[in-house]
Amino acid sequence: MPFSLTNPSYALPEMLMLGLALTLLLFIAFTGKDKINWTYALTQLSLFATALVIVLTMGEQGLAFSNTYIKDSLSDVLKLSICLINMLVLLYSHDYLKDRGLLQGEFYVLVLFATLGMMVLVSASHFLTLYLGLELMSLCLYALVAMHRDSFIATEAAMKYFILGAIASGMLLYGMSIIYGVTGNLALADIALAIDSGMMNNTVLSFGLVFIVIGVAFKFGAVPFHMWLPDVYQGAPTAVTLFLAAAPKVAAFAMLIRLMLDGLGGVQDAWQDMLIMLAVLSMIVGNLVAIVQTNLKRMLAYSTISHVGFLLLGVLSGTAEGYAASMFYTLVYALMTLGGFGMILLLSKQGFEAEEIADYKGLGKSQPWYALMMLILMFSMAGIPPLAGFYAKLTVIKAVVDVNLIAVAVIAVLMSVIGAYYYLRVIKVMYFDAPEQQLTVQVSAPARIMFSSNVLLVLGLGLFPGSLLALCITVMS
């Protein structure tokens, strides 16, 4: 089939992002370090412009570039949230990077290219575009983790991330090649048609499926493919941790939906069992191991693993409502994670990373407002109403109850009780322990205001989850 340039306008946001990222690359090549604030402003502007274009072109749906590219309401919503999340990430991390001498043009260029990769991934309807987007994103992330090159722990994290990420990509690629071998197609829609015809060799198909699931699980950080996640989260500069904890999970969710639903929906029975295993193990391991952590970044990393387990619950239910629940969970998770790592960034200053849980002693006395924000975040992550995290858990658990997977639901609720323990411990440190040092928040006013709005949104979504939930349901049906 010859390649045709049909409907190029569907990829307008990506083209814009590419153009802006390249412009920025030229800009930093020809300006000195003193123009770094311009670089920052231009990056924010690029993300904003892209978000604007996404909003303006919303509603059109269809395939482009010989069916390798899809634009639908799912891709619109996810791309928009990725841009907005990354804007917040840059805002929160600006002062952190400045304090540590990490404020370099390359950071922003890499962020923009990674964002571009996420957007391509979200819109992929073909194995090649999917892989292209994934690798563009991942390579930028590897470089970002390694950015603090004098830090031993960051370099180690980057090495681990790179090697394990490369293995995951290899697995994914291997799985894709097997699926291609069976179905003779690379486009997801054609693969779905081929599987539906029932003429395929199921054994080989399942064999390929296993590798694809492993690849996806690696990117998500689902147990037992989670080993990289705690080390990377802890080792990377907090600004980078924030970046790679939030938006890439949204992109990974899109990848999961595209692959499992659009492409391999015909073998749902096969991947459902695999996802159940991944989800249950992630919830158990994530929550149990998080209990013993003393480093907040590492604790949040294990909490991420458990959130991934919960997130998978919706997808594995195999119903439209379940997919919507997972999407809701992903977006709420991104908001909570932004808040969680954002808090670390807010409190850290030169020579003080604020990443040990013990660093938060007495925050309730010294910074009552920010302690309250952290309290909301922790209770939300634990799934206590009336906060967004409760509805996220409610929807995914409802999804598995509705398909009669009661045992999975029981494990999920038990694990959320265990999870509550380590979130409560952070609250305990903040409110019940006496302060040992004066904690201050020195970041810029916009960052503080946006951080507070971000957390209050978590509360607001807990009180009125209806519209976001309805949006997810519309997108997924």
Binding site: F379, V413, A420, Y421, L424, K428, P465
Partner: protein
């Protein structure tokens, strides 16, 4: 326009919450903190009194109903309404919170505005629990309530507060997640989150048993029933006086209320099949925990154990109805059992609040809860001793106090179920008297034990007012329980018809 047209319940829920949020934003040590707290709780209490006036006790139908769509995608509603079970509990809540605010007046010195805010927000949530008719709305209030209580015990509690509050939170959270699963499963069966729809849905015995067990875990932890009671003594001992009052007066009642609202009407057949389990646990609570109370030397711990024993009467009253159904057919014993359980809940709310308040009065002066640190208090605090002895008598179930009414009704009903139930339950009259009066003897009577006791001052006007109002109510319900009974009568009859009908 009548009272019933106004959104009374929303007012009751949101008035204290808004007041609490205002307090949260006020600067510490502001002059207006105490007035704002008092005014909010007083206003809420007055509104709840209007509820009594507007309440029609001739019907079991839900009253003051408010119904709005909340989360349309899942058909979750903001659905409120009260009947004869919830109305008295709401008034108990508003009254107890008022007490807590007054009790904190001079006593809480550290971040008083947060303390009052926590209790006011909690008040709104507890009223929400008692008036929610949508399962998810109920669950939201039921869970959200844990947050302020967790902080109250953890911030203003005693030396071992962190352990106690974590244990309290995790225990109750563990129970309630099973409730959430049960509610979701019922939604899966009915397609709705309205509790009244749950009441009507037919369920097989097997389904009912699983649901019943989930409900039982959730509410047994709250009540608390033996053997999941261990969090309560810890929480009570470490909690500040206000926390103890709310714990004993309201949160324990939420467990009993949950059984009434969910377990009994939704799973009547499972309740009948497994009533032996609840009866057994209740009797263990009454007898065994009574003996445990006897051995305590910490006053708060003693009252905490006595609370567990008293709540045993509530669960006993609720679950002997099936035996009475089987034995007699006069339609009298069942009513006695359920109403006795309800009266016991209300009465225990007041008496336990009074007991914890009395311990608070002593603790504020001596900073000790150890019985042996006292002795001869009556010589120095005669007025206080009069009140304390009266409440101790009420706690022991002396006729003429509210403590007698509930226990007597349940024991009387138990005779129609099985003689031995009644016999074992009646032992509480001896054990209860033993542990309460023995404590009174050691603390209040005898020679003045030490110099600290010799230096004690009698109650001030604030404390006198609180103790006197509680004593008046305890006495009033004790000699004239009729108004309370008539409020709930229609709802009790309705519950009994629901219980008599098999859902199979």
């Amino acid at each position: 326009m009548t009272l019933t047209d106004l959104p009374m319940l929303s007012l009751l829920i949101w008035l204290p919450i808004v007041g609490g949020l205002i307090l949260l934003m006020m600067p510490a040590e502001h002059r207006a903190i105490r007035p704002v707290g008092l005014l909010t709780s007083l206003l809420t209490f007055v509104v709840s009194l209007l509820l009594i006036i507007g309440f029609d006790s001739s019907t079991h139908e839900m009253q003051f109903v408010e119904r709005l769509s909340w989360v349309r995608a899942f058909n979750i509603e903001y659905y409120l309404g009260i009947d004869g079970f919830s109305m008295p509990l709401i008034v108990l809540t508003t009254f107890s919170t008022l007490l807590v605010v007054i009790a904190a007046w001079e006593v809480i010195k550290d971040r008083l505005h947060y303390y009052l805010a926590a209790f006011l927000i909690m008040e709104g949530m507890m009223i929400g629990v008692f008036s929610a008719l949508d399962a998810i709305l109920f669950y939201v209030f039921f869970e959200a309530m844990l947050i302020p209580l967790f902080l109250v015990i953890g911030i203003w509690g005693g030396p071992n507060r962190v352990y106690a509050t974590l244990k309290f939170f995790l225990y109750t959270f563990l129970g309630s997640v099973f409730l959430l699963l049960a509610l979701l499963y019922l939604q899966f069966q009915t397609g709705s989150f309205a509790i009244v729809d749950y009441h009507a849905v037919p369920l097989t015995l097997n389904q009912q048993i699983w649901l019943f067990l989930a409900f039982l875990i959730a509410f047994a932890v709250k009540i608390p029933m033996w053997p999941v009671h261990t969090w309560l003594p810890d929480a009570h001992v470490e909690a500040p006086t206000g926390g103890s009052i709310i714990l004993a007066a309201i949160t324990l009642k939420i467990g009993g209320y949950g059984l009434l609202r969910f377990a009994l009407p939704i799973t009547p057949d499972a309740s009948m099949t497994l009533d032996w389990l609840v009866i057994m646990l209740s009797l263990i609570a009454v007898v065994y925990i009574g003996f445990v109370a006897l051995a305590q030397t910490d006053m708060k711990k003693l009252i905490a154990y006595s609370s567990i024993a008293h709540m045993g009467f509530v669960t006993l009253g609720l679950f002997i109805v099936f035996r009475i159904f089987a034995n007699t057919n006069n339609g009298y014993g069942e009513v006695l059992a359920i109403e006795g359980a309800m009266v016991q809940m209300i009465s225990h709310g007041f008496i336990a609040a009074a007991m914890f308040l009395s311990v608070g009065v002593l603790y504020d002066r001596m900073h000790s809860r150890d019985i042996y640190a006292y002795g001869g208090v009556a010589n120095r605090m005669p007025i206080f001793t009069a009140f304390a002895v009266f409440f101790a008598m009420a706690n022991a179930g002396l006729p003429g106090t509210s403590g007698f009414v509930g226990e007597f009704m349940v024991i009387l009903a138990a005779f129609q179920a099985n003689f031995w139930y009644a016999f074992l339950a009646a032992t509480t009259l001896i054990i209860g008297a033993a542990y309460t009066l023995w404590m009174v003897k050691r603390v209040f009577f005898g020679e003045i034990a030490n110099e600290q006791v010799a230096a004690l001052q009698d109650v001030n006007r604030r404390e006198f007012f609180m103790l006197a109002s509680l004593a008046a109510i305890v006495l009033l319900i004790g000699v004239w329980p009729d108004p309370l009974l008539s409020v709930m009568h229609a709802s009790v009859e309705n519950l009994l018809t629901q219980l008599a009908q098999s859902k199979l």
